[in-house]
């Protein structure tokens, strides 16, 4: 007998099996998650929009198809999923956490959302995020911050704090996120969840509201490595609507994750520790857990190698020129003419004045900061010094990766320099906020894939610490193997997933749920 409590705590893979065997229905699973959202999301605020009725209808439809013996149902049919609000959904508002898109319902689905629907997953709703994915704490959402299920006074990471918190608070088995400089991996680290930034071009960006086009990548967020792999298999692959999408066929990520759980999966794997992304500037507990994880990998047969990546130290500087430059152009379309917020200046005005008033009222301070930075970096006379130089650094970082992957199979770093900080702690210090993405940014600049997963709690604060593996472009499957192998070793030691050590959230008792 599976209880509602089980349904929200088991992995997506387990849930899919129980759905497939007929042990539980999709309606039951969906209702259990909707009830959980109702019970805890008042505190966590992972969701901006919950589509309860639509979710239950779709779940009933999947149950009907299954009852009819539909052979076309995919392996995840009937499993609920949360969707970051940066992704366009034809039946739900898509705001990217911004006031300027409040209530905007796109006339089309993002390709990844379409793929979820075609695979008969059940979208539960849209998750909170920093406005236009600019931030590392979800505090820059126009709709209020999301809180970390481990400690409600702390940030859940960002920009995809909503997806990570939803998964960590058992409000969804897994979720879609987007990662421009760490927006999937850093929230995963501070919430003890798993997150993957695929190879650039591995997953379609069509319908993902662009932050920085050359860096953005959609990816999965989950509680287990296998679940991320299963979701990756659904959303990945070539999309003719995204010119930067890679036309290759991909191996099964789920098969790669399952291979990682086999005995000896790490044997002979060469793991490179990036000298520049270790030690100095990292919280002691982060370094401690990271070092322990390396020892476990070595014990499992991996060869640990130190790697010098001399240009990584310029990654943040380059990133904060390239990202704002692209963002300043990508966000120009938010001008009130065709969609979204319109603010008329008192007494009316010219179109320029309406655009200006709308952007003044509709964008938050971090968005304005980056638009101004980016506009400046692209300006005539400054382009070569700023944008041009940043692109050169980007090339040098790519070369560092090439050289490293000539020696090792994967690179490894902590996912974030610290555990979750307190809400408001870094809000007035943009530079301190930017440093959160120190270890995750290089992968975006080079277009290589990265996976983040939990490796324990920092002794000093009892909060989750994450580890990140990176692989060469197109070698995403290798990350799932390595990630699943380490996950297995750690869970064997912990006696279960790290999230089972998270404090129980207070459950709202009001409301008519049962």
């Amino acid at each position: 007998m599976t209880t509602a409590n089980d349904l929200i705590h088991i992995s997506a893979a387990d849930l899919a099996e129980r759905l497939s065997s007929g042990e539980v229905s999709s309606v039951e699973a969906t209702r259990a998650h909707l009830d959980r959202i109702e019970a805890v999301d008042g505190d966590v605020h992972a969701y901006l929009h919950v589509a309860a009725d639509a979710a239950l209808e779709r779940a009933a439809e999947v149950d009907r198809l299954r009852a009819e013996g539909d052979a076309g149902l995919g392996p995840l049919a009937g499993v609920p999923v949360a969707i970051k609000d940066v992704l366009c959904t034809i039946d739900m508002p898509s705001t990217a956490g911004s006031r300027i898109l409040e209530g905007w319902v796109p006339p089309y689905d993002a390709t990844v959302v379409r793929k979820l629907r075609e695979a008969h997953l059940i979208p539960l709703g849209k998750t909170n995020m920093d406005e236009f994915a600019m931030g590392s704490s979800t505090e820059h959402s126009a709709y209020g911050p999301t809180r970390n299920p481990w400690d409600l006074d702390r940030i859940p990471g960002g920009s995809g704090g909503g997806s990570a918190a939803a998964v960590a608070a058992f409000e969804a088995p897994f979720a879609l996120g987007s990662d421009t400089g760490g927006s999937i991996r850093q929230p995963a680290a501070v919430t003890a969840s798993v997150g993957v930034k695929p190879t650039y071009g591995g997953v379609s960006r069509y319908g993902a509201i662009a932050l920085a086009s050359s860096l953005d990548q959609v990816g999965p967020v989950s509680r287990t490595v296998l679940d991320s792999a299963l979701l990756h298999d659904v959303i990945g692959g070539h999309d003719p609507r995204d010119s930067t999408s890679i036309p290759d066929t991909w191996p099964s990520m789920a098969a790669a994750a399952r291979a990682g759980r086999r005995e000896g999966a790490m044997k002979g794997m060469r793991v490179g520790v990036v000298k520049q992304l270790n030690g100095e500037g990292f919280q002691a507990g982060v370094t401690q857990r990271f070092t322990e994880a390396l020892a476990l990998l070595e014990e499992a047969g991996a060869e640990i190698v130190e790697i010098d990546a001399p240009h990584f130290e310029y990654a943040i500087a380059a990133y904060y020129l390239i990202l704002p430059a692209e963002a300043s152009s990508n966000l120009a379309k938010f001008d009130s003419v065709r969609f979204g917020l319109r603010v008329n200046p008192p007494g009316g005005g010219t179109v320029e004045q309406v655009m200006s008033a709308t952007r003044e009222a509709g964008f938050g301070p971090e968005v304005k900061r980056r638009i101004i930075l980016g506009t400046y970096a692209l300006s005539a006379g400054y382009y070569d010094a700023y944008y041009g130089s940043a692109q050169k650094v980007r090339t040098l970082i790519q070369r560092d990766f090439d050289a490293a992957f000539g020696r090792v199979d994967v690179l490894v770093t902590p996912s974030a320099p610290t555990t979750a900080f307190r809400l408001g702690e870094k809000l007035d210090d943009p530079l301190a906020m930017y440093l959160n993405d120190l270890t995750t940014i290089p992968a975006n600049l080079a277009g290589v894939p990265g996976i983040g997963l939990p490796i324990g709690l920092a002794p000093e604060d009892g909060l989750p610490v994450g580890i990140q593996f990176m692989a060469p472009a197109r070698a995403d499957a290798r990350l799932y193997t390595v990630g699943a192998a380490l996950e297995q070793i750690l869970e064997d030691r912990w006696g279960g997933p790290l999230l089972s050590q998270a404090p129980e959230l207070a459950v709202a008792t009001a409301g008519g749920t049962n």
């Binding site: 992704l87 366009c88 898509s94 990217a96 898109l101 905007w104 796109p106 006339p107 089309y108 993002a110 960006r205 069509y206 319908g207 993902a208 509201i209 662009a210 920085a212 086009s213 050359s214 003719p240 609507r241 995204d242 010119s243 930067t244 430059a325 692209e326 300043s328 152009s329 120009a332 379309k333 938010f334 001008d335 003419v337 065709r338 969609f339 179109v351 320029e352 655009m355 506009t375 692209l378 300006s379 005539a380 382009y383 944008y387």
Partner: protein, 498 residues
């Protein structure tokens, strides 16, 4: 102002040398738009022919139209350009409501085609080589309609409407190098250049090339250099030039206007000028400076365009004959005099003539009909000759004349019928009953009747006053309602007098 605002053209040319440059935008007639799968068609209800990409909706992404790439390569090759192994799209950033994304996707520092030249011929047969700097691909903007106010322009309008149906239509912009040495031929050279570009894109079949519909748009840059000084003047860029004739007039006007200002000690403002077809003048548009900052950067949503050598060579092999070479060949084949041929070219009827000859007509007859009666009718109706009749129809008409079925006069009536939509020439001959009466019995009956009415005529003819036959011939032709061969009637009258 006390000083005249235009200087006499000849005087202007004595003082200044015009320096030219052209930007010609060619709308490609691909099936779909440059970056979306919306049909490449922008008539109809506003904002219906659009996709999320054309509207620049959040999350939408552009995908390059492969056909547009092929067309652009063909055009580049026809302009004698090198085709870039790798070219890139860039974003040209500026806020304007006809621009859905507030940036235009264009090519900037890496165009698909670069460094070429085009030979153009002036009316007197002289040839002039126009250097081409580049040809690059870009997307068109939407269309603004300014409502309220008297001018239909943005100044003074109450509000403006925007139609994105045209947003994303594929364009190739052909940019010339600076053109020196045009001298007093500048206005005619401008017209000849645009005309040549039109011929090229029509021959390639890549654009409908109708200037009045904006398929082909010319921005004309002009500045004046004090004669012999070697100093370049400040340029203006004249837009909204929607016909070949306007190109010529606009250049002529700007030379006269700038010369008047400069000679009075004034300075030219670097700006766009708006051409007014009705008044034949230009007016100031927006100031344009070299410092306009569009914050160009490589378009990250698109990959570089890297056509294979095989594709380029395939397109090169398929290029039609260059218009200048083709003209030379046709003139020789048809045996036209310089004057005859120039007349055809200047009437813009070369293609019609070539098609008519290809359909079996003799070159001289084709020339006579197209530059004569058809041109006259087109002129009277204010339309293009080619819109009245097809080359096939003209060839058929000529064949009927040459077979003796029609006289020229009857043929003109048949032509009217064809234009009126009554069918092919043969059908019009049938339905109107217009064929020449070649039955001598019928003609002789009419002749005898006419001779009986004018009994003195036979005597006069017999006295050697052969011209007296004219009165009888006229009466017979009238009786036959023109459907007789006057020469044959004359022969028969003279026989009767024997």
């Amino acid at each position: 102002m006390a000083k005249p605002d235009l200087m006499d053209f000849d005087r202007a040319l004595e003082l200044y040398e015009p320096v030219l440059g052209f930007e010609v935008h060619v709308e490609l007639n691909t099936a779909t738009k440059m970056f979306s799968d919306a049909p490449n068609y922008f008539g109809g209800e506003p904002n219906t022919n659009i996709t999320p990409v054309d509207l620049g909706l959040p999350g939408s992404l552009p995908v390059v139209n492969e056909q547009a790439i092929r067309y652009s390569i063909s055009l580049g090759l026809a302009l004698g350009c090198s085709i870039a192994e790798s070219s890139r799209f860039a974003r040209k950033n500026y806020f304007y409501p006809d621009l859905a994304k507030n940036y235009q996707i264009s090519q900037y520092d890496e165009p698909i085609a670069y460094r070429g030249s085009v030979d153009v011929e002036l009316e007197d047969g002289r040839s002039f080589t126009i250097p081409i700097e580049r040809a690059h691909m870009e997307e068109d903007a939407g269309k603004l309609t300014h409502v309220g106010g008297s001018t239909g322009r943005i100044q003074g309008a109450e509000y403006s409407l925007v139609d994105y149906n045209r947003a994303g239509v594929p364009l190739v912009e052909i940019v010339t190098d600076i053109i020196y040495g045009a001298d007093r031929d500048a206005p005619e050279l401008a017209k000849a250049y645009v005309s040549t570009i039109r011929d090229i894109v029509v021959a390639l079949g890549i654009s409908d090339a109708r200037m009045e519909r904006g398929n082909l748009r010319c921005d004309a840059n002009i500045s004046l250099s004090p004669r012999g000084s070697g100093i370049l003047g400040t340029r203006t860029e004249t837009k909204n030039v929607n016909s070949l004739r306007s190109v010529e007039r606009a250049i002529r006007y700007e030379i006269q206007r700038q010369a008047a200002i400069l000679s009075a000690g004034g300075t030219i403002t670097q700006e766009t000028r708006h051409w007014h077809e009705d008044t034949g003048r230009t007016s100031a548009g927006r100031p344009k400076s070299d410092a306009d900052d569009y914050r160009y950067f490589p378009e990250p949503d698109l990959l570089p365009v890297q056509p294979s050598t095989e594709l380029i060579e395939e397109l090169r092999a398929a290029l039609p004959e260059a218009p200048a070479l083709r003209r030379r060949r046709l003139k020789a084949e048809w045996g036209f005099t310089d004057l005859e041929f120039r007349d055809v070219v200047n009437s813009g009827l070369l293609n019609e003539l070539a098609e008519t000859v290809a359909a079996g007509a003799s070159p001289q007859a084709a020339r006579k009909w197209w530059t004569g009666e058809i041109a006259r009718l087109a002129n009277a109706a204010g339309v293009d000759s080619s819109s009245l009749v097809t080359a096939q129809q003209v060839a058929e008409l000529i064949e009927l004349v040459e077979a003796g079925t029609l006289t020229d006069r009857l043929a003109r009536q048949v032509l009217e019928g064809v234009i009126a939509g009554e069918g092919s020439p043969a059908q019009v001959v049938d339905t109107r009953g217009l064929a020449v009466v070649s039955d001598d019995t019928a003609l002789l009956a009419a002749i005898d009747e006419a001779l009986a009415a004018q009994p003195d005529v036979l005597a006069k003819i017999r006295d050697g006053k052969v011209q007296a036959a004219g009165a009888v011939i006229g009466a017979v032709m009238k009786a036959m309602r023109g459907q007789a061969d006057a020469a044959r009637v004359r022969e028969l009258v003279l026989e009767r007098a024997k």
